[in-house]
């Protein structure tokens, strides 16, 4: 069930809020948690009932192993159990997500036609597997003590974060269920405006942009794009992905708050970053934190030598790329970002540190460079294969032609410029509408405050509030209704579209 679908907005969400409210009143926290768990399982099963057994099995196995780790006092046995637990999760992920990728890669390398398994990717397996590995590690390190199965299950299946995060630490969410779990007018009035911001980002910005982006990337499978098509594809997808995923994350945070639960922040205006290092502190923050805590640090982090440190960075980003999808384009995307990070660290330590005030003055240049590098990387993230990605990049940087719609000179009454191909690229309506939309999207990206700033959210347990001119109650309500109104066009006017990160 999609957060932007009519059945979610007008049936599932109101019913779940009412039932949870009633359960909390009648049976207190235990009954409330049971109702919310049942609703979350229904939410998942509505979409993909066939995967319920897989997620159920995963939860049961991880809980059993974590309980065994917590009971065991012998360090060696604990380590064996942890290793087994992590291996089970990776094996499941490997089988469901990566089996065909490896088989195809072997076939491609050997030039043979190998077998292809008929395996469907269970919804959200990357997210819940990663989160449960973290739970096992935290249990092993003693950060988590034994927990009731009821609590553990809810921490995994809690519907606002189940499908695409934010990734949570068990201890962070369960302490909130113990202290703050409630449904009332206040929690709804706190959560709903943030949900509305996310909904508007998704249906009023990301989805309309995707109408232009998808055909361009499809065209790139046939040959190189021209200059404006190349940039429209890359910039369009850059905006689409941000508004889609950060919109989803805002919706998840808003939904969590409707139940009194503060989910961690996932985005902090990433495209305003002035370095790749900063970008990864602002983009998909919970994934970055997980990769750092459960992969980078265990590999030795930055406490090892310079060469190993950069090697670790490359490994972490490569695996981060592979986590996103079973394709070599994702691996390359991860490696590209790993390389960016290495160069960024080298520059920062060896050049930037010696530039003094000049370094601060270079911030706008750094910001532009960071943005362009990120845009280039998203081309590999979106393209179906390397030739398609290169076709987009060729259009952007070494175009065979610069094409403008042939109607432009007619509409604006000027003689066609030489060296421009008139016609053959985007149609007049697509060209003008896309660049108008992209202009609005990037004005929001670069000049508008982000949701965390608007609502003063810290991603922790303190309840959010509004800031600035929206702090007046009537202004808050009017702004929220405005977002709902603009979102209504996307909700009622078209078939709801999936969030991009759902396929990861």
């Amino acid at each position: 069930m999609l957060f932007n679908s009519i059945e979610f907005l007008f049936a599932f969400l109101p019913l779940t809020l009412i039932l949870t409210f009633a359960a909390l009143k009648i049976g207190g926290r235990p009954l409330g948690m049971m109702v919310l768990t049942a609703a979350s399982v229904f939410f998942y099963g509505w979409w993909e009932a066939s995967s319920l057994l897989i997620i159920g099995g995963s939860i049961a196995v991880n809980y059993t192993i974590a309980t065994a780790i917590a009971r065991q006092s012998d360090g060696g046995a604990r380590k064996v159990l942890l290793t087994a637990g992590v291996a089970v999760n990776l094996a499941a992920l490997g089988y469901f997500k990566y089996a065909n990728f490896f088989l195809e890669s072997i076939s491609a390398a050997t030039g043979s036609s190998g077998p292809v398994l008929s395996i469907g990717l269970p919804l959200a397996i990357s997210f819940y597997s990663f989160q449960q590995i973290a739970f096992l590690v935290d249990t092993y390190k003693g950060k988590v003590s034994r927990s009731p199965f009821r609590d553990y299950m809810l921490s995994v299946v809690f519907f606002p974060h189940l499908i695409a995060g934010p990734l949570l630490h068990y201890r962070d969410i369960i302490t909130q269920f113990e202290r703050r779990f409630s449904v009332n007018w206040t929690t709804i009035s706190i959560g709903f405006p943030i949900f509305a911001v996310g909904l508007a980002k998704k249906v009023a910005i990301a989805d309309p942009i995707s109408v232009f982006v998808n055909p361009l990337f499809l065209k790139s499978t046939q040959g190189p794009l021209e200059f404006f098509e190349g940039w429209a594809a890359a910039l369009g997808y850059t905006a689409q992905l941000y508004f889609d995923f950060s919109g989803y994350s805002d919706m998840a945070i808003g939904l969590g708050l409707m139940f009194g639960i503060a989910l961690p922040l996932n985005f902090l205006s990433p495209y305003k970053s002035t370095s790749i290092i900063e970008f990864w502190r602002r983009w998909h923050i919970t994934l970055s934190n997980f990769l750092r805590d459960y992969l980078y640090f265990p590999l030795g982090g930055s406490r090892v030598g310079v060469v190993r440190k950069y090697g670790n960075l490359l490994i972490v980003m490569l695996l981060g790329g592979l986590w996103h999808g079973a394709a070599w384009t994702f691996v390359f995307w991860g490696l590209l970002h790993g390389s960016y990070l290495v160069v960024n660290h080298l520059w920062r330590n060896n050049v930037g540190a010696h530039l003094g005030r000049a370094n601060a003055m270079l911030a706008p240049v750094y910001a532009v460079m960071t943005f362009v590098l990120v845009v280039i990387s998203w081309v590999f993230f979106k393209a179906v294969d390397f030739p398609s990605a290169l076709n987009v990049l060729q259009g952007m940087f070494t175009p065979a032609s610069i094409a403008l719609p042939s109607e432009i000179p007619l509409v604006f009454n000027f003689a066609p410029w030489p060296r421009v191909t008139w016609g053959g690229g985007m149609s007049f309506a697509d060209f003008t509408t896309f660049w108008f939309y992209a202009g609005v999207a990037y004005a929001i990206v670069w000049f508008a405050p982000n949701a965390a700033q608007i609502f003063d959210i810290d991603g922790k347990e303190s309840p959010p509030s509004w800031i600035g001119p929206f702090n007046r109650p009537s202004a808050k309500i009017a702004a929220t209704v405005g977002l709902v109104w603009i979102s209504a066009f996307g909700v009622f006017g078209s078939v709801p579209s999936e969030f991009l990160y759902f396929k990861f």
Binding site: W185, S189, A204, P208, E407, L410, V411, F428, A429, F431, T432, T433, F436, Y437, S474, I477, A478, T480, V481, G482, V484, W485, I486, A488, F489, G490, V491, F492, G493
Partner: protein, 319 residues
């Protein structure tokens, strides 16, 4: 709580009123402008007709593929063509036709096959209703009202601003090419461009979802009920389409029988056999439902003959 609901309602209402005002000031969407234009011409002509008339109702298939002038000449009946745009959907087309029908008139319904089912509002209908016929919302199915209100978005409006910046150079899809019978006159074989020929050649058979005649769409039932109450005679005619081999298969024969049964069960007389309304590709204009003038002549002569078999005609058409 009451304060919040009041402010919410007022804000929503204000935004919506502002949006409707903008829609009526901004340039109309290109398709809506064409639909509005041809409806104006056709309804004005229909209003001028004196005495009982025969109104052919349908989408653009009717607009392009039947010639009311030919049927009038052949039968001696006062025939007008009220075909418009299939994107409006069957519910809208039939509801709109009620405005042109009076006691003693005959309604010939030739809905394209996809229109004989209850479907959600299309973007064409939403854009047309919001920019040209907002009052239709009061008559629409309650389930469809949100899609009508929000089916034409600010993003669509931006696109239409761009589309409207261009002068319309094609001889087709212009309201001024509709004649006094409501027929299209620009669909001549000379106006058929190579891409139109290719579009027809590449079109497969129509999608045939077998409907259930025992449970017909509510909008057809409502139209039949309205017609009976207003003494309007009902005839079902076949939407003209390009011939495909598949249509002679048992699957399609069963489909056509059911299509017809939907109407006959509601009291419609059926005009002829579907196979008489299949045209060759050379008779078509730009889609499998749009005939050129040559195809429209053939289909109209067939309808004239079939019409006079089930109704009294002042003149018998030539066989």
């Amino acid at each position: 709580m009451i304060r919040i609901l009041t402010i919410s309602f007022l804000t929503f209402a204000a935004l919506f009123a502002l949006w409707v005002a903008v829609l009526h000031v901004a340039p109309q969407p290109v398709e809506a402008r064409w639909i509005d234009g041809i409806y104006r011409v056709k309804e004005a002509n229909t209003a001028k007709t004196t005495g009982p008339k025969v109104v052919i109702i349908g989408g653009s298939g009717t607009h392009y593929s039947y010639a009311a002038r030919v049927i009038s000449d052949e039968t001696g009946l006062n025939v007008v063509n009220l075909g418009s745009h299939a994107g409006l959907g069957g519910a809208y087309i039939l509801r709109r036709a009620e405005l042109s029908l009076h006691a003693g008139d005959t309604a010939i319904v030739a809905l394209e096959h996809q229109l004989a089912f209850d479907t959600p509002p299309s973007s064409v209908l939403a854009s047309y209703v919001m920019t040209a016929d907002t009052s239709y919302i009061l008559h629409a199915n309650l389930r469809h009202i949100p899609s009508l209100l929000f089916g034409y978005s600010p993003a669509d409006m931006v696109r239409q601003f761009a589309a409207n910046a261009l002068p319309w150079g094609s001889p087709l899809y212009r309201p001024d090419s509709v004649d006094q019978w409501g027929d299209e006159t620009s669909n001549t074989p000379e106006n058929r461009m190579p891409h139109m020929v290719a579009a027809v050649a590449n079109s497969g058979p129509i999608g045939a979802a077998i409907g259930n005649p025992e449970n017909p769409p509510k909008f057809i039932v409502d139209f039949a009920t309205w017609a009976k109450a207003n003494n309007v005679r009902l005839i079902q005619a076949w939407p003209v389409t390009t011939n495909r081999d598949a249509y002679s298969t048992p699957y399609y024969r069963a489909y056509f029988a059911r299509y017809s049964e939907i109407f006959s069960r509601l009291g419609f007389a059926v005009a002829g056999d579907q196979s008489r309304y299949l045209l060759q590709e050379t008779d078509m204009l730009d889609s499998l439902y749009h005939a050129n003038t040559q195809g429209a002549l053939k289909a109209s002569k067939a309808l004239a003959i079939d019409l006079c078999k089930i109704t009294q005609c002042p003149r018998q058409p030539a066989p």
